[in-house]
């Protein structure tokens, strides 16, 4: 096997270990929270006998290690279990909530990357000029602002006071199809994507700026300029390509934070995605769904980091594994 092959094999094994550890840790952590799902599931009319029956039906009367073993055994067969609150397979529940989150994530990330990198480059190149200093300060503020606060401010300003955008949900017009449907969703997408996007832009622009400043001071940049290359070509083709490396690294690490951001933003905006599902599941102590979500997040972060590392070989031909 080639060097890259061994590298990949090691990474995959390591990824599996991380995921299983996360599952086990999650399992014990969520059971540490006081209470269980029975109260909310059984309802105020329920008798103690009914509550005991329900507990047994859901397997919650077993000791914790036994519950964990049962769960792991089902997991090894690819079965994520049944949601207590939705009474449907966890995989189905999660799958139905995935598209809205992907839409929100894709939109905010795409916008943030394009705008953030552009701002980063401009503020690095235009260092010292007053206009861009303001942008730098603004990006610091943007990065420090909590997502739930920003979201509520945007709702208040653009949704309630100005009335330009709907204040929650993904759709307003029932039965809309085709262009009208797409337009309706797009209109609802603006505020939540903006909330996440602004914070991401702040981060990406600062990272890009810092990296660009360092790269622009390098000898090879001076040489390129000396050769008479157009400034634009120097900036984007030579400098940015090298600057992107640390940006990608840090961004990969930030993915974990992004997940938390999604939980908050989707809940504030009532966006029917995985983030809101997480919040609802934790409130209801829907253990199978919570664990299923943690597995999804862990594996996503692990895979993303692996891809990031592989992306390096594309961006920087000097880097090789094996």
């Amino acid at each position: 096997m080639s060097g890259l092959g061994w590298y990949l094999a090691r990474r995959v094994v390591w990824a599996a270990v991380v995921c299983v550890t996360a599952v086990v840790l999650t399992f014990f952590l969520i059971h540490l929270a006081p209470g269980d799902p029975i109260g909310i599931l059984a309802g105020e009319r329920s008798t103690p006998e009914y509550q005991a029956l329900l507990r047994a039906q859901l397997g919650l009367d077993q000791p914790l290690p036994v519950q964990l073993l049962r769960y792991l055994e089902r997991l090894s067969r690819g079965d994520l279990g049944y949601s207590f609150t939705y009474q449907a397979p966890v995989a189905t529940v999660m799958a139905s909530r995935l598209p809205p989150t992907l839409l929100l994530m894709g939109t905010s990330l795409a916008v943030a990357m394009v705008v953030g990198v552009w701002i980063g480059v401009r503020t690095a190149v235009g260092r010292g000029r007053p206009g861009w200093s303001l942008v730098t300060v603004a990006s610091l503020v943007g990065y420090s602002v909590p997502a739930f606060w920003l979201g509520q401010i945007l709702i208040l300003l653009f949704g309630v006071m100005l009335g330009w955008f709907p204040i929650l949900g993904m759709t307003s017009r029932i039965g809309a199809t085709g262009i009208a449907y797409v337009a309706d969703i797009a209109w609802h997408l603006v505020l939540p994507a903006l909330t996440l996007g602004l914070i991401e832009i702040a981060l990406i622009s600062r990272l890009t700026r810092a990296a660009m400043i360092e790269v622009l001071a390098q000898d090879y940049i001076v040489a390129a300029r000396g050769k008479g290359l157009a400034p634009r070509r120097v900036t984007y083709r030579h400098a940015l390509r090298n600057a992107l490396l640390p940006v990608i690294t840090v961004f990969g690490l930030e993915l974990g934070w992004l997940v938390a951001g999604f939980v908050v933003v989707e809940t504030v905006f009532g966006w029917p995605g995985l983030g809101r599902l997480t919040f609802d599941a934790i409130s209801a102590r829907d253990y199978p769904v919570i664990t299923g979500l943690f597995i999804l997040v862990t594996s996503t972060v692990v895979v993303a980091n692996l891809l990031t590392d592989l992306l390096y070989t594309v961006v920087d031909p000097r880097i090789r594994y094996g």
Binding site: A33, G39, A42, R45, T47, I174, P272
Partner: protein
């Protein structure tokens, strides 16, 4: 009038785009509309029957209902939450339903006979009833619901049916035989939890995980059409419904709108037709003067919001201390500042909207001086700091009405030297602390004793209810008189005889004070006046839109 206002606002935003003359004309017209609109709005005031003279129902119309959260699934037996009941009440049928006064009205059961000893209930069933998939309905489905599914999956079952001996099904009828007289059967047969389920779909499967929970098949006036989870659920008219010429509406669409303010705005703009139980009292007060919308909050469950003392704890064990707290709290202030005078103060464990409320119970007036005297007499003098003793107060943080009440209680009790620390937490944590661990001094909670208190009383206030189950007797109250009166009421078939027993129970509870009633929470719904018969049930739990129609 709405159009005039919007156009006016638009013009105001861009005065430079219009000539001055147009601007002034716009303002003038708008003003005229306001002046003329006044008397017109008064003519259209809610409750006067609406505009025009159309009083005969016509078919058609889309009815959009806003709920605060998605239904987990549509099986009313395994999912016992209101968000499931609201849609499933339209998809399924029960044996009886209830009118505004909570009297049973015929539904799948067209008539009934109750034996004088209260042990045998015979129902004559409707004919020509079919399931939405075309299969015929029969008493087998009733037997499946009550004999197979109920005992295993319904949380109300053991409460009501524990003395069920057998169910017979002679031609066109169904007969329930009980070992003991069941006073409350008719009050529960129409409960959403007892919607009749299709045997041919559920028998032999696990009702909890059956696919039909997401695509239900019922016998009801509306059929399942489509469900985009988290967003909307659509039901279409059942054109082969067994009640001729019903329903009137073409479809009902349930929309999930978690934010109450957004939902109220949507109701006013006409984007939704009906808003379920979440209109904040301040908005309800404002909506009363808005034409075209009716707000109401009928409730037969007759909840009261109470302060629960943990009777195991030292100062609260003493009756004098509880009596002092009882007259230290400022109930009118709660009703005024939290509910904007949309409801009433509580005088006992059962709310005034219940047919069993004892109207002889006095209004509880605040008397700080007397409260202080009682506490002094109980031996809890004020220390140098002015405090007699501290207490913690548990409350669910996310229920606004509860949380605000806790604030007022804290201030009220400070006036009599009791230092209250509020412990507000999320629902599950609070339920666990109150019911499972008994870890509280005071708690703010609400017990649903309706519709028939005799069934619920043992759990919340009976000796047998002291068992650390959820929704049980967390205070630790035990009184043999209350226990035996309750047991007697369960066996009493005549409603007016039960009334006498309930009166005695309420009097005893107010003498012992295992709970301190504060005020009656209301859950205000609203609907647009073009819809007639939009709320004919005695409580939102039983809401059914079979006879709702859309006027002009």
């Amino acid at each position: 009038m709405t159009e005039g206002k919007t156009a006016m606002a638009e013009r105001r935003r861009n005065p430079s785009d219009r000539t001055r003359r147009e601007f002034i004309q716009g303002v003038g017209l708008g003003g005229l509309a306001l002046v003329l609109g006044g008397p017109l709005a008064a003519a259209c005031a809610p409750g006067t029957g609406g505009v025009g003279g159309d009083s005969s129902p016509k078919k058609g119309g889309s009815f959009i209902v806003a709920m605060d959260a998605d239904a987990p699934n549509l099986n009313p037996m395994t999912s016992q939450v209101l968000q499931t009941f609201y849609p499933s009440n339209q998809i399924f049928d029960t044996l009886v339903k209830y009118d505004k006064d909570f009297q049973p009205i015929p539904w799948l059961a067209r008539s009934w006979k109750i034996s004088p000893d209260g042990k045998t209930f015979e129902f004559t069933l409707a004919q020509g009833v079919k399931w939405h998939d075309g299969k015929p309905f029969s008493s087998d489905d009733i037997r499946y619901t009550f004999e197979e599914a109920g005992p295993k999956y319904s949380n109300t079952y053991t409460l009501v049916m524990k003395d069920l001996e057998s169910i017979d099904a002679p031609e066109g009828k169904v007969v329930f035989h009980f070992r003991q007289p069941v006073g409350a059967l008719m009050a529960y047969l129409g409960d959403p939890n007892f919607n009749i389920l299709p045997k041919h779909i559920y028998s032999g499967t696990d009702p909890r995980t059956n696919n039909a929970n997401s695509e239900p098949v019922g016998t009801g006036p509306f059929m399942f059409k489509e469900w985009a989870r988290g967003d909307h659920l659509t039901l279409a008219r059942n054109s082969s419904y067994w009640q001729k010429d019903l329903p009137y509406l073409d479809e009902i669409v349930f929309r999930t709108i978690p934010n109450a303010a957004a939902a109220v705005a949507a109701l006013q703009q006409g984007d939704i037709s009906f808003l379920l139980t979440r209109i904040p009292p301040v908005d309800a007060q404002r909506l009363k003067s808005v034409s075209g919308i009716t707000t109401l909050s009928p409730s037969v469950l007759a909840r009261t919001l109470d302060l629960w003392p943990n009777l195991r704890n030292a100062p609260l064990r003493d009756l004098k201390v509880r009596q002092a707290i009882n007259i230290a709290v400022d109930r009118p202030r709660m009703v005024q500042s939290i509910a904007f005078d949309q409801t009433v103060t509580a005088r006992g464990p059962i709310g005034t909207t219940s047919p069993y409320f004892d109207s002889s119970l006095p209004e509880l007036k605040r008397d700080v001086q007397k409260a202080n005297d009682l506490l002094d007499a109980a031996g809890y003098r004020r220390a140098g700091s002015g405090t007699r003793f501290p207490l913690n107060l548990r409350v669910v943080a996310s229920v606004d009405q509860f949380a605000k009440t806790a604030q007022i209680v804290k201030e009220n009790l400070a006036d009599v030297g009791i230092d209250v620390t509020i412990v507000a937490a999320e629902t599950t944590t609070t339920l666990d602390a109150i019911f499972k661990r008994w870890d509280f001094d005071l708690a703010i909670y609400s017990m649903p004793l309706g519709p028939e208190p005799s069934l619920q009383l043992p759990a919340w206030l009976g000796t047998t209810g002291i068992n650390r189950a959820y929704f049980s007797n967390a205070q630790g109250y035990s009184n043999d008189t209350v226990d035996s009166l309750t047991a007697q009421a369960q066996r009493t078939v005549e409603r007016k005889d039960r009334m006498d027993l309930y009166k005695k129970i309420q009097q005893q509870i107010m003498a012992d004070l295992p709970l301190i009633p504060l005020w009656e929470p209301i859950f205000i719904s609203g609907y647009r006046n073009e819809f007639r018969n939009a709320f004919t049930a005695p409580d939102d739990r039983y809401l059914n839109w079979t006879e709702t129609w859309k006027g002009a």
